[in-house]
């Protein structure tokens, strides 16, 4: 019965008053509990571990020693500078590219605009690790597929060199890879802003006598500035956490970025030092959280600014004249560099016989042997099975939690909501590596160690859920807000309990959004890299880190074949997402936008 008597005189009145909004509201309470377990506990253990002498399982005494060690060498500052530098330069480059592309697609008469939109989305089908690996083959200083012919050309001009001219294993290489990877996300965010833009505002300026250029300068750009800033900030935060390029292109040249420094400290160097890794992680997270607070400020401002009009009116497109085809060629070039070239390289690699170095002009016979042997290898079945279980479990659990949390945020009452909103957004600031090592601490130390999931698929699912919960909650927030409150209230006045209303009314109505989120989380979990890399052992291998491990052991053709198969699976999912986005206008990229980075 839902009768509640407020006669608990055992509690002080202040506590009773504070708890009052929470009573009868199990949704808010359970949502807070789940988020505390998923978000606050790992964060707390990270901080605790950073203050202890020992390692997980044997923490030892409290100490500040690790902080002293961390900040007495220049390593962390170097990594900090590199990380900020890569993210800043990468963001500027991707912002300029993405801004140009978004403008071309939405506001000009560039030909083949739908094709251009598809090209700009396709990088989603190419997991970062594959993109990065194939570009190391292309720009390897000595044997790089681009470097070798380029050196020959330079030879004609009398320039003779043994290496280069390009070297992917440099800071410049990392920036190159990062900036190209960042374009799609910013592009989608800017497209959303362009589409929400009310063309009447521009027309009003024109009617007032302003020319096209004046209108763009005095109306369009000022109105879009918050959206552009938000996209830039968002991309910057994502860039800070980018891992694959830093690992594959940075580490061989001893170029540390914060994520790779953490990874190096807890996994690669001898002996590993978890405490030190925790210190770096705390430092890194602090940085991310600060930036996230800034991001939210900008976003809340831009939301106030954005002039949403339900009108399906399209503003007039600007004529590019003779440059129309050049503009499309520019987009096509981007597609060539980010998708076609890497995909060709991977395809070619996968056809090379094993143990053949990927050198241009090799006379090795190309064959599909590696694919044929792959399917007779039972290990593949295990990895495929693991990956499918992981993505299905992650997507289902993440969306279920997101549904509960969003429902509590949008429909709940009282004080819990603000906390929930903050808690569910916080994981945006969690770098993948950091979440992974935090989970090591959680599940190897008491009291977490009595749940024996370390080294299993479950711990991967937990880690990925933490990372994706932020986006999934944003998506569900929007979806639930669109379900009229009265539809639920009609259920209550028809006699149904809150739970029955959720089950029979809210959830069925939200199915489309739920499914879209499921696919988004699933496809990201499938290509997730940093979390499984840190958390996987022999028993819980999944595809993306496995590609990297196989590659490192020198089986390039096998790794490439895995990659080709992964891309073939991701391609239809990407096309489906494109369909979804084109049909809804705002698509899945309203609000915060997704982290396309894995």
């Amino acid at each position: 019965m839902a009768q509640t008597l407020e006669s608990d005189r055992a509690f002080p009145a202040s506590i009773v008053r504070w708890l009052k909004p929470l009573r009868n509201n199990w949704a808010v309470i359970s949502a807070v509990l789940i988020l505390v377990l998923l978000v606050v506990v790992p964060l707390a253990l990270l901080i605790v571990t950073s203050l202890r002498v020992g390692s997980p399982g044997n923490l030892g005494d409290w100490t500040l020693e690790k902080y002293r060690i961390a900040f007495s060498t220049s390593l962390v500052f170097e990594a900090f500078t590199n990380t900020i530098g890569v993210a800043a330069i990468g963001t500027i480059i991707s912002l300029v590219l993405a801004g140009t592309f978004a403008w071309l697609v939405e506001r000009t008469d560039m030909p083949f605009r739908n094709a251009a939109f598809t090209i700009l989305l396709l990088p989603i089908a190419m997991p970062s690790i594959l993109f990065v690996l194939s570009w190391t083959v292309l720009l390897q200083p000595r044997t790089g597929l681009i470097n070798v012919p380029l050196r020959e050309i330079l030879e004609w001009f009398g320039l003779s060199m043994r290496e280069g001219p390009f070297n992917i294993y440099t800071l410049g290489g990392v920036i190159f890879l990062d900036s190209l990877r960042g374009v799609t996300t910013i592009f989608l965010m800017l497209i959303a802003a362009f589409r929400l833009f009310d063309a009447n505002l521009e027309e009003a300026a024109k009617v007032c006598g302003a020319g096209t250029f004046e209108t763009i300068r005095r109306v369009t750009i000022p109105l879009l500035t918050p959206a552009i800033l938000a996209a830039a900030m968002y991309s910057f935060i994502s860039s800070l956490d980018q891992f694959e390029a830093a690992l594959v292109a940075g580490l061989p040249g001893q170029i540390f970025l914060l994520p790779t420094l953490i990874y190096f400290t807890v996994q690669m160097r001898q002996p590993v030092d978890y405490g030190l890794g925790a210190v770096y992680s705390v430092f890194f997270m602090l940085l991310m959280i600060l930036l996230l607070v800034g991001y939210r400020r900008i976003v809340s401002k831009s939301e106030r600014f954005v002039t949403v009009s339900g009108k399906a009116f399209r503003p007039t497109r600007i004529s590019l004249g003779r440059w129309r085809y050049a503009a499309f060629a520019f987009v096509a070039l981007f597609g060539f560099v980010t998708i076609i070239l890497p995909a060709l390289v991977l395809g070619w690699l996968s056809l090379l016989p094993p143990n053949t170095p990927p050198i241009l002009g090799t006379n090795a016979r190309l064959s599909f042997d590696v694919y044929l042997t792959m399917f007779s290898n039972p290990r593949i079945a295990t990895i495929a099975g693991n990956t499918i279980i992981m993505l299905a479990a992650t997507a289902t659990i993440t969306m279920a939690i997101a549904f509960l949390v969003s429902w509590a945020i949008v429909r709940g009452r009282g004080r819990g909501r603000g906390i929930l909103d903050g808690l569910s957004f916080l994981p945006y600031a969690f770098p993948g590596v950091t979440v992974a090592i935090a989970l090591i601490f959680v599940f190897l130390n008491p009291p977490g160690n009595f749940i024996p999931i370390y080294g299993t698929l479950s711990i991967l699912v937990v880690g990925l859920t933490v990372i994706y919960i932020a986006f999934a909650t944003r998506l569900m927030n929007g979806a639930i807000a669109q379900v009229g409150r009265e539809l639920e209230e009609a259920g209550r006045t028809s006699g149904a309990t809150q739970f029955a209303v959720m089950r029979r009314i809210t959830l069925p109505l939200l199915m489309p959004a739920f499914l879209a989120g499921w696919i988004w989380v699933g496809s990201h979990a499938m290509r997730s890299f940093s979390i499984p890399l840190v958390l996987s052992s022999q028993r819980n291998q999944v595809i993306a880190p496995e590609i990297w491990r196989v590659w490192q052991r020198g089986y390039l053709s096998e790794a490439a074949a895995y990659g080709v198969i992964l891309m073939l699976i991701l391609l239809p999912i990407t096309m489906w997402m494109r369909h979804l986005m084109l049909n809804t206008g705002r698509g899945m990229n309203g609000g915060g936008g997704p982290r396309t980075e894995s």
């Binding site: 019965m1 839902a2 009768q3 509640t4 008597l5 407020e6 006669s7 009868n24 009229g484 009265e486 539809l487 209230e489 009609a490 259920g491 209550r492 006045t493 028809s494 006699g495 149904a496 309990t497 809150q498 029955a500 029979r504 009314i505 069925p508 109505l509």
Partner: protein, 372 residues
């Protein structure tokens, strides 16, 4: 059936407290059609939502059928109150068929707990409810493929299927077009009185309130201004605010003058010096401020040449006016007149002839005036 006792509901908004419902008390008898009428934001919908159990109350008491359902200590949730509700947006679930919508409450309302066992009984009860609103032929259609009026009927059927003790209607007609609205008014009234269900109706439309209700409570700013039958509310409003909420009104201000011409009449001296007769204002002494009100449709026009002298001077007020603006709306003429004491609006028959110079006399019967 329903007893609302000093109900208060406050919200926190931007750190200031808003008293949406500020001490409202009334009772609804068994089988009564009771309406809360007021402008948007007056607290009428909030009052209804408190009764439904969709909002917790801040203070006061709510009793439905003698059972305490809300006080500062007790809060019975909506699904445990013997009510049914129709929402402004109809709130028809788009993922169900018409019949599924209508039978939904049968799974939960305790009175029909027995029918939970039998799908056939549920279907029959649902069809019966749909027949009441003449939609039984659409039972298996998906709910989104209905017109607004049909959705409205489905919502009504869904509310009536469990034979609730108290039916709550939250501006149910405001999203319908004018013609349909009039038909539905009659239909709802007919259904509820036939079934003998106590009904709580919330609207901002005075025509709905006046034509359907047994009693009306006029609300403004969280308080009930006047409670009474439609006739009382319309013809004897206790203040100009009430009069304005239930229709258009002309207001003259003046001071009580001496020398009643009859025991039932007062003389009021208007600002221009004109003497206006109106029913007795109790408790006012000489020279005190008095407000006189009369409805535009009770104003008559007489040509100036007929003179100001009336055949029954005791029973009418006659005064000069100048036509300012004429709005032809089809079924009547809405004429704005200028008088020395302010603007007067008259609602006249469409064939009313007005003199070319616009100079007329206006006549208002004393009994059609109210004064405060």
């Amino acid at each position: 059936m329903l007893k609302v006792d000093n109900l208060r509901k406050s919200f926190l908004s931007d750190k200031s407290v808003v008293h949406a419902v500020d001490g409202v008390s009334f009772e609804v008898g068994a089988g009564e059609f009771f309406t809360l009428l007021g402008p948007s934001g007056c607290g009428k919908s909030t009052t209804l939502r408190c009764i439904a159990g969709l909002e917790n109350i801040t203070s006061g008491r709510l009793l439905i059928d003698g059972e305490l359902v809300a006080s500062d200590k007790i809060f019975i949730e909506a699904n445990h109150r013997p009510i049914a509700m129709v929402f402004q947006s109809y709130a028809i679930w788009p993922h169900m068929t018409v019949l599924e919508n209508v039978t939904f409450p049968l799974s939960y309302r305790s009175a029909e707990a027995s029918s939970r066992a039998s799908r056939i009984t549920r279907r029959e009860l649902g069809m019966e409810a749909l027949k009441m609103v003449q939609l039984d032929h659409l039972a298996d259609r998906d709910a989104p493929y209905l017109s607004g009026g049909q959705q409205q009927r489905v919502a009504l059927a869904r509310a009536l299927v469990v034979h609730p003790k108290l039916l709550l209607l939250d501006e149910p007609l405001s999203n319908l077009d004018a013609k349909l609205r009039e038909d539905m008014r009659y239909e709802i009234k007919e259904l509820t009185s036939r079934l003998g269900i106590s009904t709580m109706y919330v609207t901002h439309d005075q025509a709905e309130a006046l034509s359907m209700s047994d009693r009306i409570a006029v609300m403004s700013r969280g308080k009930i201004l006047q409670l009474g039958t439609p006739r009382e509310i319309y013809l004897e409003p206790q203040s100009s605010s009430v009069a304005r909420i239930v229709g258009n009104i002309n207001v003259f201000r003046g001071k009580k003058a001496g020398g009643s011409t009859s025991p039932m009449q007062n003389e009021i001296r208007l600002a221009s010096g004109t003497i206006f007769r109106c029913p007795v204002v109790e408790g006012r002494s000489l020279n005190e401020d008095v407000e006189i009100m009369f409805r535009p449709e009770l104003v008559r026009v007489r040509s100036r040449s007929a003179g100001l002298v009336s055949d029954e001077p005791d029973k009418v007020n006659t005064f000069n006016a100048q036509v300012k603006r004429v709005d032809f709306t089809g079924d009547h003429l809405k004429v704005h007149f200028e008088t020395p004491d302010g603007e007067v609006i008259a609602k006249l028959p469409p064939d009313q002839v007005l003199p070319p110079n616009g100079e007329v006399s206006l006549v208002v019967r004393v009994e059609n005036c109210t004064a405060h």
